[in-house]
Symmetry: C2
Subunit: 248 residues, 2 copies
């Protein structure tokens, strides 16, 4: 499984993804699920992938092939609006899945992949899109300024409590790390390193990127502070009538 997340705030975009893939329980591996495509001053895009690794990799290969093919009908550099790029990726995904549909059905396996595409085209606002396995797509809303793919439930409560359009980029990034970390602790199919990308509004360059492994100072510090903070918060919860008042 996988857990990927994109958050859209007024100041820009935050992307986060885990790095564990598995085929059944006995073939577990570490793969990046975050790819950046940067064309300075023109567009800066981040693509997160979840689902069939074969489909995800094939889509990324097709994107790269189209970029190198001067005769390609469309590529990542074309399209004035980000939703045109989302549509293109949905089409690549569907095309790839259809090639293997019959064989996949026979083996009762799934070749479905979901994607989050986000970034900014010069002159346009920052945007994020969730592209479904069927090729259609949605964007986030002001009220729910994030999109998730994969194992999305464990890490949702903290997003619902913290994130709004006014959240700073750094706070959104910290919230993403906590959301990923909560998922990693509760679900063995989601694992480190956590990849993080931060795109500042109207900075059409490579986003800030970092990878948080279990040994990363930042990741260890977030884990420690969050764990301690949660326990402090928990210890301050109200007592039942029959309990002595809390000493805290």
């Amino acid at each position: 499984m996988t857990y990927c997340l994109a958050i859209s705030v007024n100041k820009g975009l935050v992307f986060a993804s885990d790095s564990r893939t598995n085929a059944g329980v006995d073939y577990v591996a570490t793969y990046s699920k975050m790819t950046t495509f940067v064309f300075p001053q023109n567009r800066s895009l981040v693509l997160l992938t979840s689902g069939s690794l074969a489909t995800s990799q094939a889509v990324i290969n097709a994107i790269k092939t189209d970029l190198n093919d001067p005769d390609a009908e469309f590529n990542l550099c074309k399209g004035k609006y980000l939703h045109e790029v989302a549509k293109y990726i949905g089409q690549l995904s569907q095309k790839e899945q259809k090639q293997h549909a019959e064989a996949m059905e026979k083996s009762k396996a799934s070749s479905e992949s979901s994607f989050i595409l986000g970034g900014q085209i010069a002159g346009q606002p920052c945007e994020i899109f969730l592209i479904y396995p069927q090729g259609n797509y949605i964007t986030a809303s002001t009220e729910t300024p994030y999109l998730q793919i994969g194992e999305n439930k464990y890490g949702k409560p903290i997003l619902d409590r913290i994130v709004s359009a006014n959240t700073s980029l750094e706070d959104a990034a910290r919230c993403a790390i906590v959301s990923l970390d909560s998922t990693i602790r509760s679900n063995i199919s989601v694992g480190p390193p956590i990849e993080l990308a931060i795109h500042s509004n109207n900075v059409i360059e490579a986003p800030y990127r970092t990878s948080l492994s279990n040994n990363s100072v930042m990741y260890k510090s977030v884990q420690k502070h969050w764990n301690e903070g949660l326990k402090r918060a928990f210890n301050k919860l109200p007592r039942f009538d029959w309990e002595k008042p809390s000493a805290k």
Copy 2:
């Protein structure tokens, strides 16, 4: 949907359940999913239900019918061990589902129900069991001292961080409320009131029970303190290199 939870600690057992049921999105209702069966000095049992409301209600009716039938082969009062009672409930559930299997298949609906049974038989330890729709069942472990049915993912991270066998009954109950509240905030198919039951080890009487509606002083206080505590914890997370040090 539903979210029910049982926690087993050294001092006893905590049970919690939400109260929302829905058939599709347009028939939403409030039903208790917690039933207690108390035979003082003999056994005190709590049953939590999730899944098909028809199956859950039929199982509870069958339990009550057997209790009033002197010729019943087995009933809740019989059985020296709690796992025998779990097996009995699994059998009632399977029997009920089989009666409607053909019709349910035709309408592509599910009559599956899951149950959590917990409590204590005099002279035996406190125990909790998760009874699957197929009638088989599992108990908790010292390492993972809780069982969940229904929408279990949103509320799992807090359990994984807080609960162990040494947790006090009151802390386990507070953790249950937070776990339910996080789920209620993130999933519209889970809703208040939260029903709570606390069974103290070796007290074979009716458990302490309370119902936390949105207007409950205790529930409002937990929500307020938890929200504030989480935000405080969040604000103390480490800064990125380029940020000014936190003022806190």
